[in-house]
Symmetry: C2
Subunit: 127 residues, 2 copies
Amino acid sequence: MRSTLQREIILNTIRKMHHHATAEEVYAAIHQQHPTISKATVYRNLQRFAQQGELVPLQLEGDATRYDRRLFQHYHFVCRACNAIYDVDMAPLADINQQVQEQFGFSVDQHDIVFKGICPTCAKTPD
Amino acid sequence: MRSTLQREIILNTIRKMHHHATAEEVYAAIHQQHPTISKATVYRNLQRFAQQGELVPLQLEGDATRYDRRLFQHYHFVCRACNAIYDVDMAPLADINQQVQEQFGFSVDQHDIVFKGICPTCAKTPD
DNA sequence: GTGAGTGCAAATCTTTTGCATGTTT
DNA sequence: AAACATGCAAAAGATTTGCACTCAC
């Protein structure tokens, strides 16, 4: 992958942002400092980084694709009330890939888990 | 929820289709027999059914929302090669909601797991 | 009769693409 | 020079919305 100024800026920007930023959010953040960088370039490169394993794409319901910059295995929690996305840093379930592989014959290399419920903040706030 | 002819047709159609149909697929299937039923009605009602718990929405990467008519808890496997979606009917992990709840303080009522890898069909076929 | 549901078309949102131009190697 | 990357604007795909009309209750 060639090194371009745009790529550097995109990666730097995403590293400064919250986890799980959308392409649109990354573009907006970049656009302030670098108004000539196009949206297409941001979209193209985020996808590219995901392919290279430098970002992990995260698709949740009714929402644009998000890019996670925490590369180690972890899970997510989505609050049904406020839609916030939290990281769930529990110990990864080490054996379930293997288990599915043996039981169903798929060659499994990964799994994602999304928990849903109500986050502490929303639990406290009577809507 | 009022009972309308359109709703009946939509539910009947989705019951005859493969699991994980998209709104577009449901619409196409309906449209042949009932060309007056509009796409908006299909979209609106699929969402509605999902809210009512009669269908489960399933959002996977780079793909339209799918609606799952298998209501009991189960997981999914997505093939990286052909993008096919398989059901994974392993025993649900009964205790991880509780575990996350205790460890992180979220009120968890559900979790989804998506496995990724290569399906048996693609494994056999040298691309 | 009233409010919920529908059909249609237009609007919105997110993402992708064609193409001419500019940059990296 | 060759291959790849960018910017722009247009296109595409999925979904939502406004509104007048219709139907279920």
